[in-house]
Symmetry: C2
Subunit: 214 residues, 2 copies
Amino acid sequence: MKISELSDRSGLPVQTIKYYIREGLLPKGAATAATRAEYAEEHLERLRLIRALREVGDLSVAAVKRIIGAVDDEAVGLHELLGTAAYTLSPAAEARPDEPDWRSAREDVDAIVAELGWQVSPDAPTRDLLAQAFLALRRLGRPIVWTDLRPYIEAATIIAEHEIGGIPVEGERGRAVQTAVATNVLYEKVLLALRRMAQEDASARRFGADAESR
Amino acid sequence: MKISELSDRSGLPVQTIKYYIREGLLPKGAATAATRAEYAEEHLERLRLIRALREVGDLSVAAVKRIIGAVDDEAVGLHELLGTAAYTLSPAAEARPDEPDWRSAREDVDAIVAELGWQVSPDAPTRDLLAQAFLALRRLGRPIVWTDLRPYIEAATIIAEHEIGGIPVEGERGRAVQTAVATNVLYEKVLLALRRMAQEDASARRFGADAESR
DNA sequence: TCCATTGGATAGTGACACTCTCCAACTATT
DNA sequence: AATAGTTGGAGAGTGTCACTATCCAATGGA
């Protein structure tokens, strides 16, 4: 398959494909001459993965590259791979251990994780992410309380259990690992969309689409 | 309070505050002279809201402006406000009704919403968002199935019920509405962080931190 | 033969969120 | 009163990001 064909089939401009190759997101085609290279089905599939992560997952090109790197690295185990993906996905919530407010929020997070008995790495960026949200909430005069948090923990547990449980163990690594990561990212969006819909429904039922101001 | 004081207390550079005023995110201070204006406590609070939405919620300045506009508009009812927030938050998932693949995904979404009996506007962008995720999933060879979706629906319902139920009805509009929106955005991040942590925990238990490749 | 296509490299673009610089008009300090 | 510092207001500049556009020499198919 020539690059123009790859472009047609993927719907991406040739320029963009070249750009992805330059950035290392896509392996270059097998050169058949100085100005000719052959692309395979895998290239097309890789492009689909890239677009899914970019358009739906809203990841930066650099983030996609990190994830793809981990997927391609045969030495990375599934647990590590999921970790890499999760860490890469966390939008950099800068830790600020110097600010007492921040430290306090972070300690709350650590206490909750310990209380739940979750096996989460002490330096997981998700901890900082959560601390950041806690801090913002407190600053807005709405500090988190256990009762507020419980439904979220419950929901997160339901989902995670299902997600991790659903990963097939046997079979060849390549595709399995690739879809594991992709579905992880994609189902996050599914969850968010469903939450918003459920909110709209609950809000309509409670505040009435026509009972209230319009 | 002078602008320099507002800057100190909020931790934001004076330039940035001026920029927010220019962009209409922050009302200008009460002018006391040609080159002097007085800022109140509300300005500080507004800045905290802006920063929470920007840093934690990851919203663009334009998105923050839309939300703040709805919050400030006394004529907007709570249900509409939540809708505005949700619509604004949805990262533009462009609808492409010309592509049959896309239409099919969108029809799946509509069928699911109908099946659940949810009161969701027919032109809610969340429908497109979900359709986009469905489409990407199918393209990756992992089409959604009802059994995969159920836990997410369940989780979304638990959360939305709790969130909408927890909004206080009486009391003055201003602050209530403001925190309703802010907590909505912030708790989304809380949910995501908890999901990732629960995943890490489930993954550690299933694939073993030390049982597998390291 | 000859012209569209390709690989490869470099430069340019538009959006975004600030950040910098100016200037005249003040205020506070000495 | 002189002087140093701050402010409002506006425009220009900056750095990052994800592409796009342009070039050029070398093919490859008609």
